[in-house]
Amino acid sequence: MIRNNAKVLLEVRGLRAKVAGVEICKGVDLTVRAGEVHAIMGPNGSGKSTFAKALVGHPAYEVSGGSALYEGKDVFAMAPEERARAGLFLGFQYPVEIPGVSNSAFLRLAYNTIQAGRGKDELDPLEFDDFVREKVKLLEMDASFLDRSVNDGFSGGEKKRNEILQMALLEPKLAILDETDSGLDIDALRVVANSVNRLMTPDNAVVLVTHYQRLLNYILPDYVHVMGSGRIIKTGGKELALELESRGYDWVVDEYEKAEATA
């Protein structure tokens, strides 16, 4: 939902980021206000994931220029865990497996850490168990999933649902979902999308990083951005996603290059 007077959650200007010494993001600009859904699309290697990971502070991604303000605060001056506690959430493209650590213990620790950061009450194991089981039902997941090790031996779809479960528990203000739709069958996609929709409020926002338009049939974006060569090269409404679906990305890149050349 676009409201011009809504609070600005994220303001990124000219963001540059490197992976293994190679610059992948070359000046990304993006403004996200409360209540909005943004989709970032673009071909492989255009810098979508790098942008997401640099923003949340993955140690392998080095910010080499530009700025990012989250609720008016300098994101890059905050430690990655502080960003998380402030409500910045990344749904991972490839959630890692952590053998030996039970999913419920992990979820409880994450939940309580975030709650403590917000000055709210923590839940003891029994209270948390009731709380998490409700959320698990909403995601149409089996409760046995809580007793297993974090992501260990999970199918691709289960891992993605586990990410959304964490989003549901942690209630981030700004959630970036990095290709959460890839690897999901149609039913799982619908469940995940419905959950994300349910979590939307006028006070939070979602940035969907995706290759495919199909997710956007379920989660309607307010803005669709196209990334190319490390920048956002075109922004439009949800109809842009459909156009990309039918025409591909090349025409956007061509248009952008022509515009650059004449500028």
Binding site: P59, P80, E81, F92, P95, A105
Partner: protein, 477 residues
């Protein structure tokens, strides 16, 4: 390795301090005169001196073992002090214990008197080579349990010591055990008579103090028919630059239907970040399930020492006897650990279980070495082994050397092994959920070690969890 991981694993040793207590020290070096001196200092009977000399003469014919996966400079056995004792004092109560010594325990975070009372633990403190204080002895004596230093046992209960000493680890055993038999200075003795279940956990805190004094502890625990005991051993050591040799021997004997549970948390000085200094821990621990239906269970959490060379073993002689080994070995910096167990099945229907968890960080090397041996008469022997390794960072190593020798067709032997790594991506996953890296490592490690920690007595489990955290945590950023 990322900086976060480096900081986490590079926390300096917290127990590095040195207590100044006047020691009565023998000259460096080893010969028959030194052995006679040790024996004389301790007013030992003739048979014990003979035991020592027999071991020493055998030792002279032996070579240092070279088969383990550890590297160290050659040890000069003539450059070691074999006897060092705090000046003898008669101690009537805890008040008379050297305050400096008490302060040492305070610094270690083990205020022995308080701890003993609070936890209901009887503590036999070994400070260098002589026992200086024994608590709860009276209470134990009421049920007929003898718990004292081995020197005292030699004086007060010579018939028991003579009957059992060297029956599990003979004076002609391996190189270091034989050396121990020749020069052991003190250690603990524990005797649980027939039918008695020891009413409390028995505990010893070892601490190496005088620089360059080799430590040769000797522990002997006997559980008679239907007796049971849980024994805890915990260690820390002050920081020194020159390597210290520690070659202890522990012998356990369980008669019919008896049960002995022996738990260790070891945190000796491991050398600095460059691998200089640190303890060489070459220990022989062996339990004999002598009687039918007897059970011996070893649980160890090994976090210290520059080199650990240790294989707590069970000889399952009695029919239906059970041997268990639960181990967590953590190595960091340049630490080397070659540890595991031997389960020797001799009796019928004997069972053994091995759960080993190795954690390597820094440039350390961690090896599991285990032998499961089933003799020709061991009908229906069963063994289950599980050996898991975890690597933190990319400069460390983990190895598993399982040996199996089976001479009876009815035996069932199972072995499982896994290797995993704590990587940047795993830590970041926690971080992105608001959880700090230290807490993340601690959670991963505790998850990994859960099967072993569950075997520890409650207060020890808490200590072990903290200890692993301490070894791997540090200031982040």
């Amino acid at each position: 390795m990322s900086t976060v991981l480096e900081n986490l694993v590079n926390q300096p040793y917290k127990h590095g301090f040195f207590t100044e207590i006047e020691a009565e020290t023998a000259p460096k070096g080893l010969n028959e005169d030194i052995i006679r001196l040790i024996s004389a200092k301790k007013n030992e009977p003739e048979w014990l001196l003979d035991f020592r000399l027999r071991a020493y003469r055998h030792w002279l014919t032996m070579q240092e073992p070279a088969w383990s996966n550890v590297k160290h400079q050659k040890i000069d056995f003539q450059d070691i002090i074999y006897y060092s004792a705090p000046k003898p004092k008669k101690l009537g109560s805890m008040d008379e214990v050297d305050p400096e010594l008490l302060r040492t325990f305070e610094k270690l975070g083990v205020p022995m008197n308080e701890r003993a009372t609070l936890a209901g633990v009887a503590v036999d403190v070994i400070f260098d080579s002589v026992s200086v204080a024994t608590t709860y002895k009276q209470k134990l004596a009421e049920v007929g349990i003898i718990f004292c230093s081995i020197s005292e046992a030699v004086r007060e209960h010579p018939e028991l010591v003579r009957k059992y000493l060297g029956t599990v680890v003979p004076p002609t055993d391996n190189f270091y055990a034989v050396l121990n038999s020749a020069v052991f200075t003190d250690g603990s003795f524990c005797f649980i008579p027939k039918g008695v279940a020891c009413p409390m956990e028995l505990s010893t805190y070892f601490r190496i103090n005088t620089q360059d004094s080799g430590q040769f502890e000797r522990t002997l625990i006997i559980a008679e028919e239907k007796a049971s005991v849980s024994y805890l051993e915990g260690c820390t050591a002050p920081k020194f630059d020159s390597n210290q040799l520690h070659a202890a021997v522990v012998e356990l004997i369980a008669l019919d239907d008896a049960e002995i549970k022996y738990s260790t948390v070891q945190n000796w000085y491991a050398g600095d970040e460059q691998g200089v200094g640190g303890i060489y821990n070459f220990v022989t621990k062996r339990g004999l399930c002598k009687g039918v239906n007897s059970k011996i269970s070893w649980t160890q959490v090994e976090t210290g020492s520059a080199i650990t060379w240790k294989y707590p073993s069970c000889v399952l002689l009695g029919d239906n006897s059970i041997g268990e080994f639960y181990s967590v070995a953590l190595t960091n910096h340049y630490q080397q650990a070659d540890t595991g167990t031997k389960m020797t099945h001799i009796g019928r229907n004997t069972r053994s279980r091995i759960i080993s968890k190795g954690i390597s960080a820094g440039r350390s090397n961690n090896s599991y070495r285990g032998l499961v041996k089933v003799g020709p008469k061991a009908e229906n022997a069963r063994n289950y082994s599980q050996c898991d390794s975890m690597l933190i960072g990319s400069s460390c190593g983990a190895n598993t050397f399982p040996y199996i020798e089976v001479k009876n067709d009815s035996a069932k032997v199972e072995h499982e092994a896994t290797t995993s790594r704590i990587g940047e991506d795993q830590l970041f996953y926690f971080t992105q959920r608001g959880i700090g890296a230290e807490e993340a490592v601690s959670m991963i490690i505790n998850g990994f070690c859960r099967d072993v920690f569950q075997q520890l007595p409650m207060e020890f489990a808490v200590e072990a969890t903290k200890l692993l955290g301490l070894k791997l945590e540090g200031s982040v950023g």
